[in-house]
């Protein structure tokens, strides 16, 4: 990780770049005419911190609230509750209004088709942000071309192109260049490589690693691909139904997972070793409806360690080791779960 400090750094390396505290977003859904409005608990109390210069991965099934979390952080959706603190300053507060925060944080979207305006040239799309902030047109275009070169697209050939003339990988490089055009400190990558085929994905991942060092970036990397997350992330956060169930160093979480859901996610990855392949699916069925999540631990209907206590008590996200926190009653001392003490001993 980068030991250098960003020129715009305020609180020093020990102060988290972003801390998220109690983030909540419920989407109201109306059922028919005059029906009672119910709430989709898309993000339901998410806390985590993002240290300077690290890459934090967010993983989970579809619909677990990964992308909503990203959009809430970027202010694309208004949060219901919760506090976001960016390098010591609350986002949206007097010292750091949303617009000022957005100069320091940018996002790369998953869908490279819909994230570039089909009527605007590549250089125009990249230069748009700087021009909004008052960079003269010619200089903005020059910088856009330099960024294109930096992300591996030859400016003379690609700058005047339109998005439909580019491949998916090339478009995603343009998206990365656009995110970097405003010189951000935090880049949120929302499934940024998921839609690419494997060889292009590897190139883009390497590019992301390069750029991170070069521009002193901090990444929030959202993905459902655990291999990619293992490759690029320093820490991993596992989400399930709008909650964080496990967070910790990537090697620990993906190597020795403490939460049964993380275990299940890992064993759902097809193994390269034919003897190690499992026949039975590790997780049956779809995640429960986020409108009416299960009581107690939200994972208990699908959990292999389920006990009666799990449907009653809601497990807090407690540390079980240095930097490793998990929300599972089976790992929590005195929780009433039969595995609890043993699990504590092994974890410690």
């Amino acid at each position: 990780m980068s030991a250098r400090l960003h020129p715009r750094d305020r609180g020093g390396p020990a102060q988290p770049l972003l801390s998220v505290d109690g983030l909540v977003k419920h989407f109201p859904v109306k059922k028919g005419l005059g029906g009672k409005a119910s709430l989709v608990r898309a993000v339901d109390g998410v806390d985590f911190t993002l240290m300077k210069g690290e890459t934090l991965g967010i993983v989970g099934e579809s619909g677990c609230g990964k992308s909503t979390t990203a959009r809430l952080i970027m202010g694309l959706i208004e949060r219901d509750r919760g506090e976001l603190v960016f390098d010591g300053e609350p986002i949206g507060g007097r010292a750091l209004p949303l617009r000022a925060f957005r100069r320091q944080a940018q996002m790369v979207f998953q869908d490279s088709y819909s994230s570039l305006n089909p009527r605007i040239t590549v250089e125009g799309s990249i230069a748009f942000g700087p021009r909004v902030h008052g960079t003269p047109k010619r200089r903005a275009i020059e910088e856009a071309r330099a960024l294109l070169a930096r992300v591996g697209l030859e400016p003379s050939r690609f700058a005047p192109r339109y998005p439909h003339e580019l491949s998916g990988g090339q478009r995603q490089r343009v998206n990365i260049a656009r995110a970097l055009a405003l010189n951000p400190r935090l880049v949120v990558l929302d499934e940024a490589v998921s839609a690419l085929d494997k060889s292009v994905e590897a190139q883009v991942l390497n590019l992301l690693l390069d750029l991170k060092d070069e521009f002193d970036l901090t990444y929030l990397f959202i993905s459902h691909d655990l291999n990619v997350v293992r490759f690029i992330c320093d820490r991993v956060m596992v989400m399930y139904l709008g909650r964080v169930v496990e967070i910790g160093p990537a090697d620990t979480v993906l190597g020795a997972p403490a939460h049964p859901y993380t275990e299940a996610l890992l064993s759902s990855m097809p193994s390269l070793d034919p003897d190690a392949r499992t026949e039975t699916p590790p997780l049956a069925g779809d995640p429960p409806n986020p409108i009416d999540p299960p009581s107690g631990c939200r994972f208990h209907p699908r959990c292999r360690l389920v006990e009666p206590v799990c449907s009653v008590a809601d497990p807090p996200l407690d540390p079980i080791a240095n930097l490793h926190r998990v929300a599972c009653l089976a790992r929590q001392p005195d929780s009433g779960h039969s595995l609890a003490p043993a699990a504590v001993r092994t974890a410690a």
């Binding site: 957005r102 994230s115 009527r119 591996g152 050939r157 005047p160 990988g169 090339q170």
Partner: protein
């Protein structure tokens, strides 16, 4: 962490050459592409030629019309097509049909196109505003517009025109009122669709104001489809305008106008059916040409995304 970076450089090169092979010598602008596709569309070009010819003839009619379109003759009434001196016959007051049809193009085209242009400006504004802002403003604007959809457009045009009184200006106003809701609805739905695109979110993230986002990112993507729809409304507008004149709510006699001519000649339908049908044929040709042209425009503007 940047150790494995250089290992995959070779396929990266391959990625680039793949694009180099692509058949794009130079990127034309979007409208350049549209123009090129339109030129290759024979139907659209034929329709455009017809429209252009009719417009030219209508504008030049005072100088090229073979006879005075206002001067009648009680002796030479309702002559058939092909009568010497009257290539398209004469009407119920003995006026030359060809001259009158040419002259009538001016008012008919004016009354067909003007309401659509005005409605395009107003309707796009309302629709884009409703679509981009969304929420309660969208609800208020679009539900208000829905009220207009409760009436058939012909009925609405007649009612408004009748309330305002007969006259060219009033019928243009009433036709504009008929088209604003229709265009606004299309504009709203296209804008709502564009607003949810990630590039609009990306523009918001870059700190652009709503006005800048609409101007730079939204307008170019919504005006095209709205324009195509508006072009298709010109034919409807011409027919409605003719209808208003036919009912005596638009142009007043003796001014030549296709709808009005259709009305006054209707009594001669059993005597001289072909002559009586001529103004209708003119309306038909112009409106189908506008429709075919707007179809061509629509397919030329389809964007690969």
């Amino acid at each position: 962490m940047s150790a494995p970076v250089q290992t995959l450089d070779a396929p990266l090169g391959a990625d680039r050459t793949a694009a180099a092979v692509a058949p794009f010598a130079a990127s034309r602008g979007f409208w350049g592409n549209v123009g090129r596709k339109l030129l290759r569309d024979p139907v659209a070009m034929a329709a455009a030629a017809v429209i252009l010819a009719i417009i030219v003839v209508a504008i030049a009619s005072p100088w090229i019309a073979p006879m005075d379109p206002y001067r009648g003759s009680m002796l030479r009434r309702l002559r058939p097509i092909g009568t010497p001196g009257y290539p398209l016959g004469s009407d119920e007051l003995g006026r030359d049909m060809l001259s009158r049809l040419m002259m009538a193009g001016r008012l008919s085209l004016f009354m067909g196109v003007t309401p659509v242009i005005v409605a395009f400006v107003i309707g796009s504004g309302v629709g884009i505003l409703a679509g981009f802002v969304g929420g309660w403003l969208n609800t208020i604007l679009m539900r208000t517009i829905d009220v207009f959809f409760a009436f058939p457009s012909v009925l609405l045009a007649i009612a408004l025109s009748g309330a305002l009184g007969a006259g060219i200006l009033n019928s243009i106003v009433s036709l504009t009122c008929v088209f604003v809701p229709q265009i606004a609805r299309v504009a709203e739905s296209v804008t709502t669709q564009i607003r949810s695109r990630d590039y609009v979110d990306a523009a918001r993230l870059s700190g652009a104001s709503a006005l800048t986002i609409v101007r730079v990112q939204v307008l170019g993507n919504v005006l095209g489809p709205i324009f195509v729809y508006a072009t298709s409304l010109i034919s409807v507008s011409m027919i409605l305008a003719s209808g208003l004149s036919f009912l005596g709510l638009g142009v007043k006699p003796p001014e030549p106008e296709w709808g009005l001519m259709l009305n006054t000649l209707r009594t001669a339908i059993y005597v001289q059916p072909l002559v009586a049908a001529l103004p209708g044929a003119a309306i038909f040709i112009v409106s189908i040409s506008f429709n075919l042209f707007s179809d061509g425009l629509r397919s030329a503007m389809e964007v690969k995304e």
